[in-house]
Amino acid sequence: MALSLSNFLYSSLLLLLPFGLMADAATVTFDWNVTWVRANPDGKFERPTMGINNQWPLPLLNITKGDNVIININNQLGNQSTSFHFHGLFMNGTTEMDGPVGATQCGIPPGSSFTYNFTIDQPGTYWYHAHQRGRYPDGLRGPLLVNDLESPYLGQYDEEVLLTLSDWYHDEMPELIAKFISVANPTGAEPVPNSALINDTQNVTVSVQPGRTYLFRMVNMGAFASQYFWIEGHTMTIVEVDGVYTEPAEASMIYLTAAQRYSFLLTTKNEISSNFAFVASMDHDLFDKVPEGLNSNTTGWLVYDSNVERPTPALLDAFDAFDDFNLVPQDGQKLLTNVDYVMTLDMKMDNLGDGANYAFFNDVTYVRPKVPTLYTALSTGASATDVTIYGGNTNAFVLAKDEVIEIVLNNDDPGKHPFHLHGHNFQAVLRSDEDTGFYDPVNHTAFPAVPMRRDTVWVKPNGHIVLRFTSDNPGVWLFHCHIEWHVNSGLVATIIEAPLEMQKTISIPSDHWQVCRDSQTPYAGNAAGNTVDLLDLTGENKSPAPLPAGFTAKGIVALVFSIISALLGMVVISWYGVAPIGTSELQSAEKRIAEAGTEVK
């Protein structure tokens, strides 16, 4: 089976990751045809899956820091457009290569080609995935590792192991999204995955040797489920989080939301008498209802000796995962102070006039603009600093260059949400406990002196988070929940960072314009595609109208009619009751009695 073969290649490739073999920055080129393949990673259901060059799982991108990466995409899906986002990469100076459709590019329609060309200057663990409505859970997601020849942990480990986590659906996204955003799903219950995967399969084995140290790189490439991860009998020493080296931190269990990454060092035992299970367990808190028969746990094994049995993992009473706020970046970057601008995002879930459930920032649910936001920023001259031209449904924020930005996110929803910022990592300066409500800038727990930095952080139910970063990366960057369902239901904000600077430095390759033409997407003017009057947004993409509140005209008419008919009815009853009895009525009573009389005796 192709699957197991590719998995085998996957692991062997990883274990042989070369160190120090390359010196100078190189250009690495990939030609990717995006194609449909069939896959059955959980052994329960074979389904059409989006693959690359007729293969799935997708290839590991193994890049060395400093390399220039060129990926030539040809969309051969035939029925769906797509795009690629390289999650966690800053794309400094190349915002047009970031990937989200509607923000930095047009979707690549079937038959079209598109080239991503960028240089990677960050080390660590990343991943890539399609960034268009529901594409990546259908298969288009894979790991991206950036080797660092100057890693502070170089020499402290002998080998690298990659473990990807993912949830997996048997149904295809277009159908699931239609059910999710529907009048029949007013609570916005997210479809629950059918399975969980490790390295896009199950029952993974990792051969280890005693007395050695391994660098485990972990990515949660899932669409929805957060996962707890632990290894029986071993401790993990976290050294990297979302591409940021940290001071070593010991953990017995880690928690990875969708899109989060960790690297940890693991030193194996000295004896080879037994093997050890490791488990990834999907967090049920995210699921409205756990379907019967769902196996949330995926097990793998550290195999010291392949002749020894692989133990069943022990059941846990509770999940007690490492709190990532305890991590300290290894570079010691201090808390950003003197905040220049605060982006407050109050998020909630609510229903709109079509009866379906949507997600909102500040009462606005994101709808993709007609013109990708980057193209609006580049084609509108001095008006590009006016936030209104980016449309009424994009949650747009225009940031000036080189300022300290604070994002305050208030979660007015009883769910956990992993938030991701494109183009930056941020200092995670505060995460409140559950049910603490909105952030109070006057009264809060002290911020850490050296806050953890990462690019995806989760907020607790009905709590808040505070994040800070410097606006030193001109571009269009999305800030969104990384639960793919919530991206589809609009939990997205658009940051337009230093638009005038962008106009000077960014130039769009012609193939990017071509996919817009191929897909008949306008690529100039304001969010509505108006190039003349930039403040005229007539015809822009809008969300459905809000639900009518209380009594509308039709409700009042109905109520008044009901009252009138009741009153009229009672008048008629009274009128009838007062009227004297008619002769026929009397006769019928007489008859009834007479009849009974003859019958009784």
Binding site: S562, G577, L586, A596
Partner: protein, 373 residues
């Protein structure tokens, strides 16, 4: 306070007992005024006993079913009943609305008779059934004879089951100690209102009392009819949503926007007894979320009632139904909406033929057509 007295439980018991006790008191007051212990004690006693038996049997059945349901809920951990709750609410509601409608008109008409006629009519109800009658006619007679049992029975059964289901739902989050006082107070308050109605009914002039109480009964029936439609629609919506929509509260998602005429996010009668809104719902059929179906049902019900009473009055005055030609002389036709007594009275007085008497309204009408022809 919360541990000894559950306000939701109070409101549930109050509203459920209120409707029952009003209907029962109207019936009892009616019996007392028309027959009274002194006028026709035998029939009076029998009919009063019917009312009480209706209540007792209704309570007994709803308690048994309710205990079974709650037992099943705790025993099997699954609310088997909730899936069909809306269906029986709707069905029972329709049934109760029809019975109240039929009886309301009948009571009002009886009140117009003179005392002696009423007593005789009551005695006539006692008469043994004629075996030669048609099955349909015999059922009518039977329903007439036991109407005083049927109405309280159906009402109590419906209200009792509803109370058990609602309390079962609330009860999961309420300490057991909060129940007894709340249940007793709720039922007590409901009975008190009923008792006041009964006393008022005994004091007032019969016709006035019956006009007021009939208006009231029809308000209840209109509400029931509308609620029945609402429940059946809600059942459909629950199937669409795949669960009990009311669990989402009173806000978005608890109703089908496509059917909505109005919706306000408070005053849902389904949540925690609904408080005052629950009473409003119970008596007048209020919904915080009105649908096309429920609004149309309410208005069409009243249109039907208005037409019915107008037609009855027309028939009483003119001796024939509107839109139909008068019958040949000496054959007068009485109304049909009420019952069986639509006969050719004058004919009977002279040439009494048992077989012919058994014709019901439709037969009479067809004979009228024949005569017309």
């Amino acid at each position: 306070m919360v541990n000894v007295f559950s306000v939701p439980v109070f409101f549930i018991c109050f509203r459920e007992s209120l409707e029952t006790s009003i209907i029962v008191s109207v019936l009892l007051a009616f019996l007392k005024q028309t027959l009274g212990p002194e006028r026709e004690p035998r029939v009076y006693k029998r009919l009063v006993r019917q009312v009480w038996w209706g209540i007792i049997i209704g309570i007994a059945i709803s308690l048994c079913v309710g205990c079974g349901m709650i037992g099943a809920f705790y025993g099997l951990g699954k609310n088997h009943f909730s899936g069909t709750e809306d269906i029986w609410e709707g069905t029972f509601g329709l049934l109760a609305a029809l019975i109240i409608t039929a009886m309301g008109a009948a009571l009002l008409r009886v009140s117009k008779l003179q005392d002696k006629w009423r007593v005789k009519l009551a005695q006539a109800l006692e008469a043994k059934d004629n075996k030669k009658r048609s099955a349909g006619d015999r059922f009518k007679r039977w329903a007439e004879k036991y109407a005083m049992f049927l109405l309280p029975f159906i009402t109590v059964l419906r209200e009792g089951l509803e109370a058990v289901v609602f309390i079962g739902g609330v009860g999961l989050a309420t300490p057991a100690s909060a129940f007894p006082l709340a249940v007793m107070c709720g039922i007590g308050a409901g009975c008190l209102v009923g008792y006041l109605v009964y006393r008022g009914g005994n004091v007032a002039k019969l016709q006035l009392f019956l006009i007021i109480s009939t208006c009231f009964l029809y308000l209840v029936a209109a509400g029931l009819f509308s609620k029945a439609v609402w429940f059946l629609e809600n059942n459909t919506w629950n199937h669409v949503v795949g669960g009990d929509a009311a669990e989402t509260g009173a806000g978005p998602g608890s109703y089908d926007i496509r059917q909505s005429v109005w919706h306000i996010n408070f005053g849902s009668p389904l949540l925690n007894g609904g408080g005052g809104w629950g009473v409003f719902n119970s008596i007048l059929g209020w919904q915080n979320s009105a649908t096309y179906g429920s609004v149309l049902a309410y208005n069409l019900y009243w249109v039907a009632v208005i037409c019915g009473f107008l037609a009855m009055r027309y028939n009483e005055a003119k001796g024939h139904w509107p839109l139909m030609k008068p019958k040949a002389k000496r054959i007068s036709e009485s109304d049909a909406a009420s019952d069986t007594s639509s006969q050719q009275g004058e004919v009977i007085a002279e040439t009494y033929e048992p077989k012919k008497v058994s014709t019901d309204f439709d037969a009479a009408r067809s004979s009228a057509r024949q005569l017309d022809a």
